[in-house]
């Protein structure tokens, strides 16, 4: 794999020379060694990431050892797995045995998990090679990857701009061509929104499809791990590897029989599919974004889908419900960072003072804000008015989706209201930052799958993502529609369109 090209041509993802499927096929056939693939990825990171800062930890030695193991399997005629030799990046909230897992927070300073997340195990079993851990908003709280104790990640398309977040490091690593695949986590849009802003495919699976064991919790009832890729086909393959029941996660869904073949759904087309262009999912979005979504609807119609406009007014309630439920769960999930057992400890005269000093020093401002919001929302006398009411909204949301899916098979909308915004623009305006997730939150509240597909560029030349939403366990449907969109997508903004490393990129004209 080479460093990202600056020729503006769109690389054909899974079928292109750097696509995950092509790499795995070559490695499995013995045409390329996993070691050479991984060495190229590591050298691309080494030469390009000081500028982007997509990675917070690079595990070069372990990656090369894993690559050699894949090569050994090939040489000995053993099955090296469906993702043999494919380099992957892991968001730094996925536990990796012996490798620092920080959630981009000072409070986890020095902590090395004694175990691997289930998805990390499954990737390794499939022959994929983890090359490092990616930057993120602290504890996945944010939409720009600026809330990181390591400093921000930059957007490969324009280094003055954010990559989105919270999985901005994973999105940037794929967009920059460092790796063909990455994992992120999506609680309110943290995979799809950075995928849109970085011009890659990003997908949030149905809640319970992918085990959360080893994902450091932000909001347990909303968190879901999902893939980043340069193509829909690659994303589907990666999901196929990480999905499936896990005894270690009680909220993990049982495996259907037969198990779905996500990759096979990619080529199914959209003939006769009912697509609802959802008005609430373009409402308030920048005109160039809206224009791309409308173009996407036309393209799907041209490909044989039945497109109609649909309104789901309940989606407008999503943001406020989300900002009660997610902080409430977070306030509890983050209580354990108390300085007693691991991570940062700032000593004090007694345990309570030590807890306070540790948490004061260890958490950044956005995390503290959400812990306070959540603690308040759960406190005696306010529970019903806030948390209870938000849960009722969540029920309404599920019912609203159900009504919509009686009329259409999938919903179409924007992923994010705008293209990538300048670094620093929204750091002092939390509400403006929260609005970045307005189109993605409904799927999290309902536990449904959704995907962001690059759809050309906005007026500023930066990537625009179009979002497809499907009912629970509608992944095959989702991938088939996403693949049709991918095939029709206009040039620009997509994978491979990132500016050459070190060039500085366009200066955000037109915003």
């Amino acid at each position: 794999m080479s460093a990202p090209r600056g020729d503006g041509t769109r690389e054909a993802g899974g079928d292109g020379p750097a696509g995950a499927l092509r790499i795995a096929a070559a490695v499995r056939a013995g045409e390329r060694s996993a070691r050479s693939v991984v060495e190229e990825a590591l050298s691309a990171v080494a030469s390009g990431d000081s500028d982007l800062h997509a990675f917070v930890t690079v595990t070069a030695d372990a990656a090369l050892a894993a690559a050699d193991e894949v090569d050994r399997a090939v040489a000995e005629g053993r099955d090296p797995g469906p993702l043999a030799g494919v380099p992957v990046a892991l968001k730094d909230n996925l536990c990796t045995r012996g490798v620092p897992t920080t959630c981009a927070s000072r409070i986890l300073e020095g902590w090395r998990p004694p175990y691997d997340a289930t998805v990390v195990d499954r990737l390794a079993a499939a022959g994929a090679v983890a090359v490092g851990k990616t930057n993120m908003d602290e504890f996945a709280m944010g939409s720009s990857t600026e809330n990181s104790c390591f400093g921000p990640t930059r957007n490969p398309h324009d280094r003055t701009r954010v990559p989105g977040g919270s999985s901005g490091g994973s999105a940037a690593a794929v967009a920059a061509g460092f790796v063909p695949l990455a994992l992120g986590s999506d609680t309110g849009g943290s995979i799809r929104q950075p995928a849109a802003l970085c011009g890659v495919v990003g997908m949030k699976p149905t809640y319970g499809l992918v085990s959360r064991y080893g994902l450091v919790a932000f909001a347990s009832s909303l968190d879901q791990i999902g893939p980043f890729a340069t193509s829909v086909a690659d994303a589907a393959h990666l999901l196929g590897v990480i999905a499936g029941h896990d005894r270690a996660d009680s909220t993990s869904l049982p495996d259907p029989d037969p198990r779905p073949d996500f990759a096979a759904s990619v080529g199914r087309g959209v003939e006769g599919r009912r697509v609802g262009l959802c008005l609430e999912l373009v409402e308030g979005c920048a005109p160039d974004v809206v224009a791309r979504v409308r173009r996407a609807a036309e393209d799907l119609e041209a490909a044989g889908a039945e497109v109609s406009e649909i309104s789901v007014p309940e989606f407008r309630l999503g943001l406020s419900a989300y900002y009660l439920i997610a902080p409430a769960e977070a306030s509890s999930n983050l209580a354990r960072y108390d300085g007693v057992r691991y991570g940062l400890r700032v000593d004090g005269p007694d345990v309570a003072a030590m807890n306070t000093a540790t948490r004061t020093a260890g958490f950044g401002p956005e995390v503290k804000r959400r812990i306070m919001l959540g603690t308040y929302a759960l406190s005696a006398g306010y529970y019903d008015a806030y948390y209870g009411k938000a849960q009722r909204v969540r029920t309404l949301m599920v019912e609203a989706f159900a009504r919509a899916y009686r009329q259409v098979d999938v919903l179409l909308g924007a992923t994010a209201p705008s293209t990538a915004f300048p670094i620093g623009e929204r750091v002092d305006d939390p509400l403006a930052m929260y609005m970045s997730d307005v189109c993605t939150i409904p799927s999290n509240l309902a536990g449904h799958p959704a995907i962001s597909v690059p759809y050309g560029a906005g007026d500023d030349g930066l990537p625009v993502g179009v979002q497809v939403l499907a009912p629970a366990l509608g992944e095959e449907l989702l991938f088939s529609v996403a693949a049709a969109l991918e095939a029709a997508a206009p040039a620009g903004g997509g994978p491979g369109a990132a500016a050459p490393v070190g060039s500085g990129g366009p200066e955000g004209a037109g915003r």
């Binding site: 998990p113 175990y115 009680s250 909220t251």
Partner: protein
């Protein structure tokens, strides 16, 4: 208010550690007394990214407790109870809140008094903190150490109605509940190891009042003795306050066993806001009817039923009223799990009172050995004693050997020890021989020299060896004297 008669009102919360092989939400061993922090894993240490998986065995034991207490099993939900404490790895406890697994029910005390049960819910235990330096309390300690072996051990908290009216009744409740928990195999019942921990809600009111007084919750009651003393002292403290015109303040208080008093821990205003909310990492628990029926059907006999069964055997034996001492023996034998042995012995033909006495005294002295003792051996021994083949002291000695050896043939052991009763013929024969061998002594004896009784008995004992039966020999000697 002086001169008012006061009534004590008590409700108890009993925390019972379940006797499962593993913890409530992970596969770590549930084992007391191991090296600190050896039975731990990412889940029970609350490491980032770890998730709980509910232990089916713990649910089953909780349902057994519910069935024994006549509760209804309800679909239930786990909640998080949020507060900061260093021995709680996640800084929240997974517990059940407004939708517990067991709802309603009762426990009948041995005297027939019925105490209502509000609920019996599942939750996880915390770790254990040791404060070092200072006076061993958290304040003033130099440093603290935490052992997380206990963190995540399954607990069932059993909450009674405020039906209890005295310290003695509270002790009887706790004692009977303990017996039930052991009987249904939910708990090992070891209060001294913390397997059972009791909090008491105590209030007082003028006798005859139908409203409750302000209550205080007393913690740190580690024995039945502490429970009784703490309730007595707390009730007296509250009465003294009220009689001097002061009010009782709702508080959580700590029982100081050494000082024999309760001291305030925190007031209602300082009470934690636990911010309960449904645990999103677990799914609702709804045992189906089949499982519930299987659990209820596997309960076996409860202590009250076991006591009734033994009393019926004593009654049916037709040898008189059951004495108070025998009723105590019945309770003791049931508490120690030796009642099955007695019942089996009686059905094998052994006399009931004798079987009960041997079980309550000799077997109870070594309960573990008693559980290994083959029923047939015990039955045979008690029957031999009942038939007069062994004296009481001989029977106890043989039983001691049976317990030590894990069983054996009582007849053979009695034989080895020379406990075989002499047959009537052999007594006559030996007496004849001895009399014939000592004609002068016999003459003096027959002439009234009672001192020679000892001489003849000694000579006969020497000849008879191990089968000597003093009672039978002296009877034969007296018979011959009369003939002479």
């Amino acid at each position: 208010m002086s001169g008012t008669e006061w009534e004590t009102v008590v409700g108890l919360e009993v925390h019972c550690e379940l006797k499962t092989a593993t913890k409530l939400f992970c596969g770590c061993a549930n084992s007391f007394g191991d090296e600190p922090n050896t039975n731990v894993c990412p889940v029970c240490l609350g490491l980032p990214g770890s998730l709980p998986v509910l232990n089916e065995g713990a649910v089953e034991r909780a349902m057994r407790i519910g069935a024994a207490l006549h509760c209804e099993v309800h679909p239930s939900v786990f909640h998080r109870k949020n507060y900061f404490y260093p021995d709680m790895p996640k800084d929240y406890q997974i517990s059940q809140y407004d939708e517990p697994i067991n709802v309603g029910g009762w426990l009948d005390l041995p005297d027939g008094f019925r105490v209502g049960i509000v609920r019996a819910h599942l939750e996880e235990d915390t770790g254990k903190t040791s404060h070092l330096g200072g006076d061993g309390r958290i304040h003033g300690a130099d440093y603290s150490l935490v052992d997380y072996n206990r963190a995540g051990v399954p607990l069932v908290e059993i909450v009674s109605e405020p039906d209890i009216r005295s310290a003695a009744q509270a002790r009887a409740y706790a004692s009977e509940l303990r017996a039930v928990l052991v009987a249904v195999d939910a708990s090992d019942g070891r209060m001294e190891e913390g397997s059972l921990r009791v909090d008491a809600n105590v209030s007082v009111r003028p006798a005859g009042s139908d409203t409750f007084g302000t209550r205080c919750e007393i913690k740190n009651l580690n024995s039945l003795r502490s429970l009784g003393r703490a309730i007595e002292h707390e009730a007296a403290r509250q009465v003294a306050l009220l009689e001097s015109g002061e009010a009782v303040v709702q508080q959580t208080r700590h029982w100081d066993e050494a000082a024999a008093r309760t001291v305030p821990l925190r007031s209602k205003e300082e009470a934690f806001d636990y911010r309960y909310f449904p645990e999103p990492d677990l799914v609702p628990l709804a045992p189906d009817a089949g499982w519930q029926a299987a659990v209820a059907g596997s309960l076996g006999l409860l202590p009250a039923q076991r006591r009734a069964r033994l009393l019926a055997l004593l009654d049916g034996a037709g040898d008189g009223e059951v004495s108070a001492a025998q009723a105590d023996q019945v309770s003791a034998v049931v508490d120690q799990g030796l009642d099955d042995l007695v019942v089996a012995a009686v059905s094998g033909g052994a006399p009931a009172r004798l079987a009960l006495a041997r079980a309550a005294n000799e077997v109870a002295a070594d309960v573990e050995a008693g559980r290994r003792l083959p029923v047939a051996d015990f039955t045979k021994l008690v029957s031999m004693e009942g038939d007069g083949k062994l004296s009481a002291s001989q029977s106890k000695e043989v039983l001691g050997e049976l317990l030590g050896a894990g069983g054996g043939d009582p007849e053979a052991i009695a034989g080895q020890r020379g406990f075989e009763a002499m047959s009537a013929d052999s007594v006559v024969a030996i007496v004849n021989e001895v009399v014939a061998a000592h004609p002068d002594e016999w003459g003096r004896f027959a002439g009234g020299d009672q001192k020679l009784m000892g001489f003849f008995v000694g000579a006969i004992r020497e000849r008879a060896g191990s089968s000597f039966d003093g009672k039978a020999v002296s009877a034969e000697l007296r018979r011959r004297l009369q003939e002479a």
